[in-house]
Subunit: 130 residues, 2 copies
DNA sequence: CCTTGCCTTGACGCCGGCGACAAGGTTTAG
DNA sequence: CTAAACCTTGTCGCCGGCGTCAAGGCAAGG
């Protein structure tokens, strides 16, 4: 399987695949003419990478999962390093959720206050209590 | 008040202040020697900018709030344009919260599954079910 | 006079995951 | 023979909010 086919089958771009390779996540072989050649296992790996990236992981975070798959596991999640990353990421997400929740509450109160105090300095609109 | 003092009083850097100016958010006067000179009102403006940036707004989002303050309002939130931005940002935060919540749930299930199926391919640990 | 400590205008670096060229080689079909 | 459709490496761009020099001017104290 050449890079174009893999890209299409994995739902990504050839550029991305070369990028993953440059960062040591994928290792294709080379055919006589220098083309990258991938086997089916790499498809699985690339899908794992995509899934994790889509969830907000960085390439470094993804590494253990790829190694885990390469070690022959059916899931990239079961190895200790992967679990460690999963825990850490979960904690990060929780922290971020807290932050965002606080921001949400603040924006909400700011908004309600703003609507209550519409343009104070302007002359009163005609129907205040009507 | 010169730029250094304003930076310190507003809890930011001179670099940031020049950046805000370059993007039209702050307009200091100039003294004879070319130094930027700010009045007290600018301190209020810069604090507004900081507060909004810290909440995740971009500089473009901040603009209406600054204009609102400059228009003489006690709060930068009360003008219609500000309210519009507040609404939009609130919606964005809500959407992001949903996304993050979904991600959290997914990570959680992934993690629990991973812990349940610890290294399947390895030789059975001594106490399996039978 | 000289140093210190302000200030000025550039301009490049950063982070991350690629997109978008450029300039060329290979293989196949017509 | 040529065009099409793959592939290769390499390099710059992007987004945003600055940090961090670089090179120089101005004011005040010793």
């Amino acid at each position: 399987m050449l890079i174009g086919e893999l890209a299409e089958r994995a739902g990504t771009s050839t550029r991305a695949l070369r990028y993953y390779e440059a960062h040591g996540l994928v290792r294709p072989e080379r055919s006589a003419n220098g083309y990258r050649v991938y086997d089916e296992a790499e498809l699985r790996v690339v899908r794992e990478i995509r899934a994790l990236l889509d969830v907000g992981f960085g390439l470094d975070d993804v590494r253990p999962f790829v190694a885990c798959l390469r070690a022959g596991n059916a899931s990239g999640d079961v190895c200790p390093d992967s679990v460690t990353v999963l825990r850490r990421k979960l904690a990060e997400v929780d922290a971020y959720l807290d932050r965002l929740g606080a921001v949400r509450r603040q924006l909400h109160t700011q908004l309600t206050h703003a609507i209550a105090h519409r343009e104070e300095p302007c002359p009163r609109k005609r129907h205040s209590a009507h």
